[in-house]
Amino acid sequence: MHIQLTSQAYCKMLLHTAKYPHCAVNGLLVAEKTKEKKKDGHGGPVLCVDCVPLFHGTLALAPMLEVALTLIDSWCKENNYVIVGYYQANEQTQDSRPNQVAQKVAARISENFNEAVIVMVDSSRLTMSCFEPIVFIYDHVENKWKNREVTTDAFEDWNEAQTITSALLVGRSYENLIDFDNHLDDLRNDWTNPAINKSVLDLC
């Protein structure tokens, strides 16, 4: 299955990573639900239109993750989205392979979407200019998570993604990025990030 990231999805993942440089962060990737089911299973690429930043710091605790998955699942149903993947950026000193947490969440997502992907963000290569994609995409093949080569094909429009992400990083928009942890600290914090979505749209 071919997955593509929109500028909004890529940008918000990187903003989340940039906001917490000293922590691991994670989140979910969503795509629009398509009604047609191609019989041979080889339709067009699945377009990840958005991501929902979840937690920062300790990612390996169950209760809030369950709450987040349930709430976000409901939100997806209301907005005709489906959760198609999971992203994680490890602490800078660790490697970028999907760990136990990533695999567990991805397995959970696979119950509803059988070609779930894991996107690992390489936070050690995060720069203001974003001159190259810093994600690794993993597919579940033969019971293992296999790394796929990431080219500009993995993006709906790499140049746009690069420009927008760079602009928002320079402008320190990540200070206003809300993840689910922030929401739990204060319910008024909106994890759909409407303000950042608007900034992305304005820059398109």
């Binding site: 710091g57 605790l61 000193t93």
Partner: protein, 285 residues
């Protein structure tokens, strides 16, 4: 380039007070701390009096987060000059070595400190099986600021999925800080993650305790709802336990409902939270 005080029209006192507030609230907004702290230190150090030392420490730690080793080293050197024998400053030296990924040097550094002062040995068996180099470094820092070290250690154990040891650290923290709702709530989360009926019931009790200490802790409220719901839904519990837990879950649900209503009214958010109402039906009982 204009200084912060010029750009935002703030005086040095405001900047100093801001740093203090971030210290008290335990904020880890490292970039802001570096921006404000660097300017305060370079332009106004003479006015800060004894505050300057804690500011050097705060800025040093933030600088490490932002990979500003130049600034971190400057702060560290000032602290070393002023407090040459301080264990606290030695811990900061170790922290900088760890941030630079010089783990062998960090280890040697901590070994040297222990040699100087062998009474700073750690006796609890939980420390002995530390899984990673930096965990070993960290556990040796328990002789300074115990609380912080125990908490960081619990987080490291959680990241290593060693929930038993994480629980041990949090138990220590709860013992010495019985009124801290955060430790109760985190302990409950660890128990919940460990799973099994006994742990779920413990989790529910500690979520409830966290709520007694702070009735606005949303994580505790959600946690109470989740643990009570799971217990109620289990086929292994007696009818009475089921009934009690349904009551707890229903109470938690009502509180969560109310909290969302209040926050929506306060902020005019709308559709995002409609999804919340279907939340309560995910565990049928």
């Amino acid at each position: 380039m204009a200084s912060l005080s010029e750009m935002y029209d703030v005086g040095w006192e405001e900047m100093r007070d801001k740093l203090r507030k971030w210290r008290e609230d335990n904020c880890r907004n490292s970039e802001q701390i570096v921006d404000v702290g660097e300017e305060l230190i370079s332009e106004h150090s003479s006015k800060l009096g004894d505050d300057i030392w804690i500011i050097y420490e705060q800025v040093m730690i933030a600088a490490l987060d932002c990979s500003r080793d130049d600034l971190a080293l400057t702060c560290l050197q000032e602290l070393r000059k002023q407090f040459p024998d301080s264990h606290r400053v030695k811990r900061l030296t170790g922290m900088r070595l760890e941030a630079l990924e010089r783990y062998d040097d960090a280890n040697k550094h901590y070994d040297a400190i222990l040699q100087e002062d062998p009474t700073n040995t750690v006796g609890s068996p939980a420390w002995l099986a530390a899984p990673r180099k930096n965990v070993t470094c960290l556990c040796l820092s328990r002789f300074v600021g115990d609380q912080e070290a125990w908490h960081e250690l619990s987080e490291l154990y959680i990241n290593e999925h060693d929930y038993g040891k994480a629980a041990f650290c949090l138990e220590e923290l709860m013992m010495t800080n019985p009124h801290n709702h955060l430790y109760c709530e985190q302990y409950a989360e660890v128990k919940y993650t460990q799973g099994g009926m006994e742990n779920l019931e413990l989790a529910r009790k500690y979520f409830a305790q966290a709520l007694r200490l702070n009735n606005r802790n949303m994580r505790a409220l959600f946690g109470l709802y989740m643990s009570a719901s799971h217990i109620a839904a289990s086929p292994k519990v007696s009818a009475k336990v089921k009934k009690d837990n349904i009551k707890y879950a229903a109470w938690a649900a009502a509180q969560i409902n109310r909290a969302y209503k209040v926050s929506i009214e306060m902020s005019y958010l709308d559709s995002t939270f409609h999804c919340f109402y279907s939340f309560f039906f995910f565990i049928g009982y």
